[in-house]
Symmetry: C2
Subunit: 496 residues, 2 copies
């Protein structure tokens, strides 16, 4: 994989200087066009051998282009806020908005490679990390991002020569950190694992570019031209190409509403039953969140359901036993401007609880496959891929120890109508009911289809859906609370 990057490519000064003038202008032009269009972000990943010119090239790109529109991020030691959340969070929070360029040093590839080279992880964990990177990048691309992955390379001989030169140059010897020297010792490992990573993560939508680093001019022109051509091509396309799944179109299976239809909505609790059970579950939740074992976890509860199914009431009942400092409630409304400039899941990632925290989502990322699907706000190709993106996302949460509980609050059509009318009659509830709610009601069947598919495709063993029979509010509230408690208990048990 690296052979052709060890042959000693060089470019003479005259050729270089002639080419650079045109290249710089064209890059600047493309950069401003990118900003004007503001249709997609550009992410440049910088990896490879130390001493092969990674830092120098990034510096040069900042000189050639307008550095005010480039954000350079190096992911060194994670902060404690980052350590308290899934590893992906620190990358999500630094993603560039549409129209901007970000250069990521010390990205997911460096982290997996250093971990493997140091022996902190084995091959199987490396493969998991590779797989996760691939999924992440595919999602970014599907969301419109243009990704460049550069591997700066030097042969072992070239690296040794490079280190010697640096050593003897008093002006630059400070660049020789211990890492660089260490790098020399572990060169073979680094290259071996590097090849494995590159081979498995070079994809049509985000290929690797291996750049021979020994000659500054060659390396600079190669990177500059690659960027320019990629940028120009992407800018020309009126629409970013959509990856259409090569698969049979999704049709509602005959019984995808089987689960919903099989709910026994007549289930109810008497006032006394409710009081007894509620008191018990509230005490349980209070204890479970105060439990020492919760320090290794966090809790995410997702509330979806028919309009007027009682999401708000259920959420309030969950908080009943808790100190308000123990939880956060995130009501999901239309995305803001900053959120629209980011991948779909970004606006949920930003609210992910840190360890020991409990966050409730009043509506959630499932809007993608519910309202956005039914109201045709999102193209089928996009909401279709959301199922697996969401499963990946939730896996990242669960892997970190976050307990994910998801509720669909189901009522029947008559109950909904009755509640709509009640709400319209009560002054302080009038805000809760709008014309839109009545319109959504006309699409009852389409929503039911969407819910059926959603549950089929995203009720996973790690983050299952719980359907809540919500015609009776008391029954629903107790079941919600009990489900949360059971999930926490199950998670603690698994901690061994």
């Amino acid at each position: 994989m690296f052979e052709s990057a060890e042959v000693g490519h060089r470019i003479d000064k005259a050729t270089y200087e002639k080419e650079v003038i045109a290249l710089r202008e064209a890059l600047l032009d493309a950069q401003y066009e990118l900003k004007q269009q503001a249709r997609f972000p550009v992410i440049i990943l910088i990896n490879g051998i130390e001493g092969a010119g990674k830092g120098e090239t990034v510096k040069l790109l900042n000189e050639w282009m307008d550095p005010r529109l480039i954000q350079v991020e190096s992911f060194l030691m994670p902060s404690d806020e980052e350590l308290a959340r899934p590893a992906q969070w620190r990358f999500w929070r630094r993603l560039p908005p549409k129209g901007r360029i970000a250069i990521f040093f010390g990205n997911w590839y460096s982290q997996m490679l250093y971990a493997r080279v140091n022996g902190d992880i084995k091959d199987s964990r490396l493969d998991i990390a590779i797989d996760s990177a691939e999924r992440f990048e595919r999602m970014l691309c599907d969301e419109g991002a243009l990704i460049f992955k550069f591997w700066f390379h030097l042969s072992k001989r070239q690296l040794k020569a490079r280190l010697k030169t640096l050593e003897s140059d008093p002006q630059r010897s400070w660049q020789l950190s211990q890492v660089d020297w260490l790098q020399n010792q572990v060169y073979d490992k680094f290259v071996r694992y590097g090849e494995r990573v590159l081979r498995r993560t070079s994809r049509d939508y985000a290929p690797w570019y291996v750049v021979e680093g020994v000659d500054e001019r060659y390396r600079s022109l190669t990177v500059g031209r690659t960027l320019l051509e990629g940028l120009q091509a992407a800018l020309k396309l009126q629409e970013r190409p959509r990856r259409h799944p090569h698969a049979a179109p999704l049709v509602a299976s005959l019984d995808n509403r089987g689960l919903l239809d099989s709910l026994d909505l007549t289930q109810a609790l008497s006032r006394d039953q409710y009081k007894t059970q509620m008191t018990r579950e509230e005490a349980r939740l209070a204890m479970l969140l105060r439990d020492k074992r919760f320090r290794q976890h966090a809790l995410v509860a997702v509330f979806e359901g028919n309009d007027a199914a009682g999401k708000g009431g259920a959420i309030r009942r969950v908080t009943g036993a808790l100190d308000p400092r123990q939880y956060h409630i995130v009501p999901i409304a239309a995305p803001t401007e900053e959120e629209r400039a980011q991948p779909y899941l970004w606006r949920f990632w930003r609210h992910m609880p840190a360890r020991r925290q409990f966050t409730m989502f009043d509506r959630s990322w499932y809007g993608r496959v519910l309202v956005e699907r039914v109201e045709e706000l999102t193209a089928p190709a996009d909401w279709l891929r959301a199922y697996s993106e969401i499963n990946d996302f939730e896996e990242q949460l669960v892997d970190f120890g976050i307990v994910v509980v998801k509720f669909w609050l189901a009522i029947d059509k008559d109950t909904q109508e009755q509640r709509f009318k009640e709400r319209e009659a009560i002054p302080f509830k009038r805000y809760k009911i709008t014309d839109e709610d009545w319109r959504n009601r006309d699409k009852w069947d389409q929503y039911a289809d969407a819910v059926g598919d959603m549950v089929d495709r995203t009720s996973t063993e790690i983050a299952p859906w719980t359907l809540i029979e919500a015609n009776d509010k008391r029954f629903a509230r107790v079941k919600v609370l009990r489900t949360i408690n059971d999930a926490l208990e199950a998670a603690y048990k698994k901690d061994k």
Copy 2:
């Protein structure tokens, strides 16, 4: 100050239950109206004696109102990201957007009080903290925020009784943290300093409400009614009242442009001079930022100037000697939706560098007193108060060790015209020149007045303006770099 909160106010159950029903509905109504109007945020500060019902009241407010629209923030141990920035940053980042309610536990008052009671700070530092809180709150109010400050009180006798009750109740004894008991020992100090703080920070625009905490019903109704009346009054006003300064209107003094006019714009450097001096200053900057002493500092450089004065070029030249991982450039454009829902300075606070970081602002918070003043985007009362708000803001940065350097790049009218025309002719610079630039040019004198006032009012001993003669780009770039270097050196020297 606390006498009337020690008399043992009580409310009987019947009265309470009758009142609460109406109160809850009215509070919910006000809350939804607040959300709909989305004109101002509400900030509720919770302070006072431990055991006086702070937590219980907040819990109750969450039950009475819609908890999805309330964010409860407790500021316990700062994270390392917070410790690396001025103390105010952690409050800024948690401010509620317009239309929302935030409840702040452990806010600035708790912090100053605990610090004083523990003897970590003396009276003089307490007074500085009080002064700073007062300025912060006035700014928030001027920006539209509605602030409620509650002090929950118990007499010493009441507190002792309360602690005994808790102790004997196995269900609630866990609430007795060490702090509570400690509180009992230090009660006198806490009340003494509390009085000082309340007396000095109770203002018309953000008064304290002292709530006797011994009777739950009395305390709950008091807080609920206070909130309701305050909310209703604020919602009724079509416009939040503007505090008009009781002062002579600001007129441009006869010589406020004296400094600008006295600049010798003919100053220039030859190509050779430039090369020599630039190389020297670049090396200096590289060394100064690698200096161990920089770890205790951060660097903020603000670039303002006439259109086409060369801000971008100057910024790029500053980065010339640096690794792109060492700096961030923040280009200031129109505020986003999320930024518009916050106080004016919020969008700059969010970009403040952590320790050891260097951030350049391409245009800045001074837009308030430049473009917003001249183009009449902001009412005079608002940009007039900005001078002192900005001085307060920069003082907070400097107090933390951030070196603040501010540049006004000045060119004359002829030079500007020439550069505009040049830019129009060069393809990759055509983005830099718009009709707006030509329109701004017609307001040359008004801008010059605004610059004169800005420099007069915000060139402080801790963060002075440096006027840059920028007709000659080489001269300007060297002076910018040298000024930054001098400022860093001066800061290091002061470290002793």
